[in-house]
């Protein structure tokens, strides 16, 4: 379908974008990569009065090394994250996930910040953000503020970004010695939204697990952590028996929804499959 008519403004600066957001309120939408927004407009799921294009604002794209973290500008295209040596070296979870974020033509245009700000519960990057404990940098006419990933995702497509604010960058902590990351999703077609997926970030010392973050996507209305299940890993070495205990614990801890691809019980089962397939290679098993 074709979108309903809208006006289009190209913001040259963040202040200009904030001004338009203040003026138009809910009738305006921020256009970043547009790879989700344009689809919803074309399907007329959304009919804004105005699109505020932020693609030409200087300083919103690029990856910089800030000693303990990589700062990834919100307008950094997925392809530039995918091919970044710094990302591959310091944030392997993000590097592993990128290949699953849609398809090459979409990764060429879609943005790192856009995917996080859109907060699709089936998307890869929000789950990675929670698993890694990233910091969101949000700006508005009132100034800048930081929000922890754990406090950022509020519900279905809902985030801590205020109505007159824009996500400008994300700081991703560099992987610490003794930690490993694993990423896996189950999808009908490579690059499509996952039926369910897992971003895992675990401490492991000579085969013995320590602290662990297991965050699932498309398992609820936002990235869904499984801290009780993750805690079972502490002090354990990998075994089939451990895999079975983790899978059983996930059935209690997760409450995934039904949709046309899978019902809740099937998703719970697949969560156990993902944990097994993701963690066993990390343990060298």
């Amino acid at each position: 379908m074709k979108p309903a008519p809208f006006a289009y403004a190209q913001a040259e600066t963040l202040d200009e974008a904030f001004g338009l957001l203040a003026e138009y309120g809910d009738d305006a939408k921020i256009l970043a990569g547009g790879q989700s927004l344009m689809a919803t407009l074309n399907m007329r799921l959304s009919e804004p009065e105005l699109l505020i294009d932020i693609n030409r604002i200087d300083g919103l794209a690029g990856i910089s090394d800030n000693v303990d973290a990589l700062r990834i500008g919100a307008m950094t295209r997925h392809v530039d994250v995918e091919t970044s040596e710094a990302v591959a070296t310091h944030t392997p979870l993000i590097a592993q996930a990128m290949d699953h974020v849609a398809h090459p033509a979409i990764r060429n245009r879609g943005t790192f910040g856009g995917s996080i700000a859109f907060a699709d519960p089936a998307a890869e990057l929000p789950a990675c953000a929670v698993a890694l404990g990233v910091t969101m940098h949000i700006a508005g006419s009132a100034g800048e503020r930081d929000v922890a990933a754990a406090d950022f995702f509020k519900g279905l497509y809902e985030t801590a970004i205020g109505p007159d604010e824009i996500l400008t960058a994300v700081s991703v902590p560099k992987i610490a010695p003794g930690w490993k990351s694993g990423f896996m999703e189950l999808a009908r077609r490579h690059g499509d939204y996952a039926i369910i997926g897992l971003a895992a970030h675990v401490e492991i010392d000579g085969g013995t697990f320590g602290a662990a973050h297991l965050v699932f996507f498309n398992a609820g209305d936002r990235p869904i952590g499984a801290p009780q299940t993750a805690a079972l890993l502490n002090g354990e070495v990998w075994s089939e028996e451990l895999a079975d205990r983790l899978a059983a614990a996930l059935k209690d801890e997760l409450d995934p929804p039904d949709d046309l691809n899978a019902d809740g019980p099937m998703r719970k089962h697949l969560a156990g499959v993902l944990v097994k397939r993701t963690l066993s290679p990390l343990a060298g098993a």
Binding site: M1, Y8, M43, L50, A102, P104, N108
Partner: protein, 159 residues
Amino acid sequence: MDKHVDINLTVNGEAVTRRVEARTSLVDFLRYDVGLTGSHVGCEHGVCGACTIRVDGRIVRGCLMVAAQADGADVWTIEGVSETGEIRDLQDAFVERNALQCGFCTPGMLLTLAELMARKPDASRTEIREFISGNYCRCTGYQAIVDAVEMARNKGASA
């Protein structure tokens, strides 16, 4: 606010100046305003890949950009890359291997594969399949398309 936008861009190397509705997608602009109908419109929500075009050196979904965003951009379509001969080996291999039947997906498939061959000339068959995972073909079953890529690059290597 005005729901029209003035744009200047180059399409297949030629300067184009138009006034467009802000909501006009880049692929509709190319088809209806510029008259280049080689880029196809399938799903209009970024799933099928039929509208794949090249903007500033990278393939994009023509249905997920508005023409207004292409102001100042360098846009190439299947017509342009056919005329320059850039993808001739690949096109010949598509014919040779029967890598198309109805042809609807072919322009998008060719532009996608041209980018793969530039970025990763030694891609494995699995990697080729992953790279075209965003381009639906309902005729060939993809096997012949992957064959064609291998054939084209072997020819390129021996030339």
